[in-house]
Structure formats: structure tokens, C-alpha cells
Symmetry: C2
Subunit: 154 residues, 2 copies
């Protein structure tokens, strides 16, 4: 039941936001590429902290940024037709994003859950727990990439 | 006194983060361009909400994203030598960023303060207050651009 409702929620979100409704395809692609790229920096910072000297402050800052971006409503940046277009670079989003609502809703929900779980433990300074949570969070990224992002050109 | 200390804090931050220490110039530029671009989307969403039908939920999401990014330690992305280089595009960062520590510290602190103030009132649904705060926040962006970013090529 939840899985069936999620795509509807995503679509409703995209359609109801006045700012997003006016977004051009290439703008939307640029904004989402920016979001994922900035999150990648923060993932890397958390990883580096679990592998070296750990700064709780930096982990908290990085995890909060990831969670806030994950919770910001990125779904509304997947405007209709944005499986084709150029933001900073050509998008690699597959058309399945716009047809497999149930599957997309599932990975999107997992991504948000794991991002929030990371933010919740960021201040503990427990390197092993942070590393484990980073693995779970990274798995949600990979899951979406495997299914909904075309491979990079060789 | 505070103005003299701030640049030291910024430099210390950049030097002490293990992840940032290994950042290449072009990576750092790409990450910061991503951060500012994603914040621009969220600024636009808040503006649209103050000018049309207001969604408290969307304003909160957007304001939280801006604040978390502002608080994430963007200063560490201004690695030495990154007034020259190409992230998504050629950087327009002026070399003054690396020489005017007191001035940069001041605009950075104001930006963080206004971003946090925006997040604090985001849930009120008070369009006039949100618009006024957006003006204050936008003024900190403009202040930095006017002083530390080269004009776009015609």
C-alpha cells in the first residue's frame, strides 16, 4: 500500500510547488546535479573522518547537509521530460524514473531514511557506527544509480 | 577583535579537515559551485512562496537546506590557489578571497547568521517576514559577489 502511494506523493509534490512548476528542464537538471555533487563531497568528508582522525564537528556538518538536501524535495527536480537535457552536463537519468513510480518511491524513501539516520548518529564520534551507516546510505545511492542512471560514457 | 580572529578560524578549518586537505582545486571549485547553485534553487523557491500561494512545508525544506549548506563549512572549499581553475565552469572567485581574510570572514559570518535566521522563521508562514528575511539573506550573497566574484563575461 505504501509503495503504491509513494509515487503519487512524489508526483503531487512536483505538481504543487509553484517554484518547481516553472522550472525549465535544463535548470532542473542543473539543480539536481548540484545537489548530488554537493552531497558527494559530504559523503567523502564523512568517509575520511571514519578512516583518519575523527572530527565530530565536521561529521555533524556534513551529515546535516546531506539530510537537509535529501529532505528538501529533490523529487520536484525530476520535472517531466528531464530524462533528456543538459544541466552542467548531459543528464544520465533514465526514462524509467518517470515510469517506475513505485520503484523510484522506494529508493527515494530509503535514501531519506538512511540520510536522516546518519544525521542522528553524526555527533556520537563512533567511527565504526558511522562507517556502517555510511555503507547503508551509500547503498541507497548505488541502488538508484544501478536502476535509474545510465552508465558514464567510457 | 572578532574580525581579526575570523580569518584565522577559516584558515584553521580548511587546514584541519582531512577530507578537504586532499581536495584538488578543480574538485573544490566544482563542489562550491554546486553548493551555491543548489542554494539558488532554494532561494527561488522561498521567493516564489512569498509571492504566490505559500507552502510552509516547502519554505521549511528550502530554508533548512540553505542553512545546513551555509553551516557545512564551505570555507574549506576555498583551497589555496582556487581563484583559478575549472569546476563545472571556470571559477569567478577573485584572488581577494585569499588575501582579505577579515572582509571574507565578515561576509561569511553574516551569510550564516541570515541563513540561520531564515530557517528559524521558515515555519511561521508569515509571507511578509519571510520576504524581508529573504532580502537580508540575499544581501549577504550580493555583498560577497560584489566584492569577491568577478563579473560574468558579456
Amino acid at each position: 500500500m505504501l509503495r503504491q502511494l509513494l509515487p503519487i506523493a512524489l508526483i503531487a509534490c512536483a505538481a504543487s510547488t509553484s517554484a518547481s512548476a516553472n522550472l525549465k528542464v535544463d535548470e532542473a537538471i542543473k539543480y539536481r546535479q548540484s545537489a548530488y555533487t554537493f552531497m558527494a563531497w559530504n559523503m567523502g568528508r564523512i568517509r575520511a573522518n571514519t578512516e583518519g582522525e575523527l572530527s565530530r564537528d565536521e561529521v555533524v556538518k556534513a551529515a546535516n547537509a546531506i539530510a537537509a538536501i535529501a529532505n528538501s524535495g529533490l523529487g520536484s527536480l525530476f520535472v517531466p521530460g528531464s530524462d533528456q537535457g543538459k544541466g552542467w552536463i548531459e543528464t544520465r537519468a533514465k526514462s524509467e524514473i518517470f515510469t517506475d513510480g513505485a520503484g523510484v518511491g522506494k529508493v527515494a524513501m530509503r535514501f531519506n531514511q538512511e540520510a536522516n539516520a546518519m544525521a542522528a548518529i553524526a555527533g556520537t564520534g563512533d567511527a565504526a557506527a558511522l562507517k556502517a551507516q555510511l555503507g547503508k546510505l551509500g547503498a541507497t545511492c548505488k541502488s538508484c544509480h544501478d536502476n535509474y542512471r545510465a552508465k558514464a560514457a567510457e
